[in-house]
Amino acid sequence: MSDDDRSLPGAALPDDDLDGHTMDELAEYLDRGRDPRDPDIESSAACRLALSNMQRLRELSLDAMQRRADTDPDPERETAWIDGLLDTIKAELTSGRDVPVSHPDPRLRLTLTEAAVRNLVRRAGDTTGGVVTGRCTLTGDVSTPGAPITVDITAAIAYGQSADETADRLRHRVADVLARHTELVIEQIDVRFDDVYVP
């Protein structure tokens, strides 16, 4: 690179070495995923070089920021805003329906929130082994004691695990935890694996 190049940092890019195409045009072509293919651009070595440079700079921009983020010298700052965020979120949580729990003293009315029950299901799933729980839905009238409830669970399964066997273990584990902590009558537990993770 010559010093002359550096003395003109603001000069417009000379487009005439792009076989009649402009950088703008090439940038838009790149944004369209080079589709439909423009034979005139693709047959020009200068354009192809410009395109690959543009593509590279685009990838480098994000990667450079990611690297910067990964090597951030101030982890305390990350912690500070995330803590603030989580506090706000927790204050906004909705608890859902009330799930009654009986008590020997009839004057006492105990309830678990639906959110707490779903939390139980998630924790049960996560401690099954080979599973990360996803969505959990309770279908049925959870507010009425004795009403039949269906639990729908989506989950990610660890790579290499048998789906049948893992689903069985998950169902048993969830049924067990719900029986121990709630009085819900669980009619059915449906499990759907919608993701695989590498443990």
Binding site: P9, R58, Q66, L85, T94, D195
Partner: protein, 185 residues
């Protein structure tokens, strides 16, 4: 977070549906995983690391409230990137009229010491340094175009600049970055 916490290894898509279900720890994992990049990005957009923390926090809060709108949970990162972009633009608009207008047309300083950059251990550090040296408006245009995928028209509206100016700023940013990164080809 302990290494044996399965949440820490779960895919974004799993964490997203779970967070949409009201699971705060799942969202905390997402925030820790993607927050640092978003903060660096916001910092580059705003040219300020005081405001970037606020912007990222606001953006994640918006993300949390709108998780159910995210149709494809695996696209969490680009989706958050768009939210951060919009929050950063809002900030820029609010302070638009009383600062950094003067640097609109300032060309980026060429590397003072090219050898140092050439010697830099990693290409990404060189790219970071180059991005960092771009004048604020060139950098914003570049990031909106290349990272957020905005059209010239959208950038023009976001930054309240004529499309022709956006075009010029982008051309200069591209030219500067290409030149700075030439040694790495």
């Amino acid at each position: 977070m302990s290494d044996d916490d399965p949440l820490g290894r779960a895919e974004d898509s799993t964490l997203v549906v779970r967070a949409a279900d009201g699971d705060v720890p799942a969202f905390a994992v997402l925030a820790r995983r993607h927050g640092p990049l978003m903060r660096v990005y916001a910092e580059q957009m705003l040219g300020s690391n005081v405001e970037s923390d606020d912007v990222v926090q606001e953006a994640f809060l918006t993300g949390w409230r709108r998780l159910s709108d995210l149709e494809s949970p695996a696209r969490f990162r680009p989706w958050m990137m768009q939210i951060v972009t919009r929050k950063a633009i809002d900030r820029l608009r609010r302070r638009r009229h009383h600062d950094d207008v003067d640097e609109l047309d300032r060309p980026a300083d060429p590397t003072q010491n090219p050898e140092r950059i050439v010697e830099a251990r990693l290409q990404l550090d060189a790219m970071w340094a180059a991005l960092d040296r771009l004048p604020a408006d060139q950098r914003r245009c570049w990031l909106l175009r290349e990272t957020a995928g905005y059209s010239y028209q959208e950038i023009s509206e976001a930054l309240e600049l004529p499309v022709t100016t956006v075009r010029g700023l982008l051309a200069r940013a591209r030219q500067y970055l290409s030149r700075e990164m030439e040694a790495w080809r």
